[in-house]
Amino acid sequence: MALPRLIPDRIAPAWNDLTPTQRVCWHFTSATRLFTNAWGNREILPGYQYFYERNNDLAVVNEALMLANPPPDHKPPQQVAIVTVAWPLGSQIEGTTTARRGFAFLQLDDPLPAETAAIVTQGYYQNKSRALKKPRIRHVTVIEPLGSGPYSLIVPTGYYATTSGNNRFAKIRGIKARQRPDLPLGTVKITNITTGQTIRQILSNPNGGTPTGINRPRATAYKPTDGDHYP
């Protein structure tokens, strides 16, 4: 598989490939599309920053979707229903050859709209002290437009083969989600690919409840009706 790259490695060359007219248009279109920063202040982004802001998520979904021209508006995407599903520890499918334990995945009953993509990010901060740090993003699952059905959150083999310790992805495949049911399973960004506009949704932890060690409710086993249980 391809080596992971930083997002700027995708966006910066794309900016350089624009025509001078396109670059100027990004600059002056930004003046009419105020950006709200982390402190809630409205500001005008310079042309490159506006280009980066609009293409940040599209570069993750698919480089080919990146906008060369500033979008006509900032129309947000539609909300989509993504169900989180868990096979808790100990669940077994009778009569099948494979049993999955502590497994979580996503289920899209309806296809994503044609102009919508989703980016699922997962990661848990594993410091035992539970310091107030944001989780490190360990894995990204992209759901392209019109995608539907089950989506595995399993990290591809070798994705972080050279890492260890806190980067062990096995932790988030389900066991970790089960160990930390107080944390969401992940975050999903729903992106309108025609405008680059994104809304965020929290993916609830299917093992949801209270932290480990407390008498918390167990997740219900999910049993496929037929075929391989692998989602």
């Binding site: 396109q22 100027v24 248009c25 600059h27 003046a31 009419t32 310079p46």
Partner: protein
């Protein structure tokens, strides 16, 4: 994707003396804009009243905010905002050989004089004047001009302020061997490189030279020489905008055989060590005729784009020309559309700012018959479609 830019007039002053008139626009850190101009009079065009307007809607409407009456001299065209509500502006009073800087801390409602220079008249006919002021941080400002028109070495040619224009330190020329006549223009890049143009030689031949500094003016590196063997080669009206440490665009009056003038624009990619004429010379460089760039503006728009405005009367029809370059001043392919009647006026071009909603804002001197004149304000949104 294409760019269009159409200018419309948003304000016109009352009639001013045809021989006077100076003007400028500056953006304030509070989101407003200040526009100032001088009234002049037939008896004494330079002993004038400066009037100041303010706009809080990106230059669409303007209202009176004060005047600088009582300050001798003409408030010149260029001024710079360096702190919220603080604007500094040069003033100019040739009859008394005075020049200096005035300052407002209330967006033009009232003004005080913060620098006075009064120097003996020049035997070469060059008056004391301050050409422009720029700011390069919220507290630091730079002024330039010919502060000493006399044949003295070294002449005072530029000044700096580190306290938002409250006090100023004047500096001498960098080349004492040949006193130069006029400090024409300066450009400043955020990275700290200044580029300046000056005309050297009180007698023929006179040349325009370029120089740069990377230590805020402590030392200067003399670069390209430009101009011809006759007067006045790029004497006045030059404008410079710096994109970064090396790249800059420049425009000005360039004459080898007066009274014919060439309207020319240049670019450099080595901090003015070498200068290059723009490649679409049929658009920018008019040989012969009476076109001139005595009123010129080169304004940086983005990291690569700039706006050029200059007077063009080369074909016998006075008018102004406004163009946009997308390639650091190498070419100027985009023309700002003006109402047709404007092009029948003689319009030396004023100074421009870019509004936060993406429009050019320009102030122009215009006269239809040379018996009356006025200053008008123009707004040109840059539209992408």
């Amino acid at each position: 994707m294409s760019i269009s830019c159409t200018a419309t007039r948003v304000f016109t002053t009352n009639s001013i003396n045809v021989n006077s008139g100076s003007w400028g626009i500056v953006s304030q850190n509070d989101g407003s804009y200040i526009f100032g101009w001088t009234q002049g009079s037939d008896d004494f065009p330079y002993d004038s009243l400066g009037s100041w307007l303010r706009s809080t809607d990106e230059g669409q409407t303007w209202s009176f905010n004060g005047n600088s009456d009582g300050l001798i001299g003409q408030v010149s065209a260029y001024h710079s905002n360096i702190h919220p509500n603080i604007t500094v502006a040069p003033y100019f009073n040739p009859p008394t050989n005075g020049a200096g800087i005035i300052r407002t801390i209330n967006q033009g409602i009232s003004w005080t004089r913060v620098l006075d220079l009064s120097i003996a008249p020049s035997p070469h006919g060059r008056d004391v004047w301050i050409a422009g002021i720029q700011s390069y941080s919220k507290t630091h400002a730079l002024a330039w001009g010919t502060l000493n028109g006399d044949n003295q070495n070294p002449p005072q040619t530029w000044g700096t302020s580190a306290d938002a224009g409250a006090t100023w330190t004047t500096h001498s020329a960098w080349d004492y061997a040949t006193p130069f006549d006029t400090m024409n223009a300066m450009g400043i890049a955020e990275q700290g490189c200044w580029i300046a143009s000056y005309t050297k030689g009180f007698t023929d031949p006179r040349f325009a030279w370029m120089a740069n500094t990377t230590d805020f003016g402590a030392t200067w590196n003399v670069g390209a020489s430009m101009g011809g063997n006759n007067t006045p080669p790029m004497e006045t009206g030059l404008a410079i905008c710096c994109f970064d440490k090396l790249n800059a665009a420049m425009a000005g009056n360039h004459s080898n055989s007066p009274p014919d003038d060439n309207v020319s624009a240049w670019w450099t990619d080595d901090a003015a060590m070498t200068m290059h004429l723009v490649s679409n010379s049929d658009v920018i460089n008019w040989p012969g005729g009476s076109g001139n760039m005595l009123c010129t503006e080169v304004k940086r728009l983005t990291q690569d784009a700039c706006f050029l405005a200059f007077e063009n009367q080369n074909d016998g029809t006075p008018g102004s020309c406004w163009r946009i370059s997308l390639d650091k001043g190498h070419t100027y392919e985009i023309e700002v559309t003006q109402p047709s009647h404007v092009q029948t006026y003689q319009i030396p071009c004023g100074k421009a700012v870019v509004t936060k909603d993406g429009a050019l804002l320009m102030a122009l001197w215009q006269s239809n018959d040379y018996s009356t004149a006025e200053i008008s304000l123009w707004r040109a949104p840059i539209i992408c479609a």
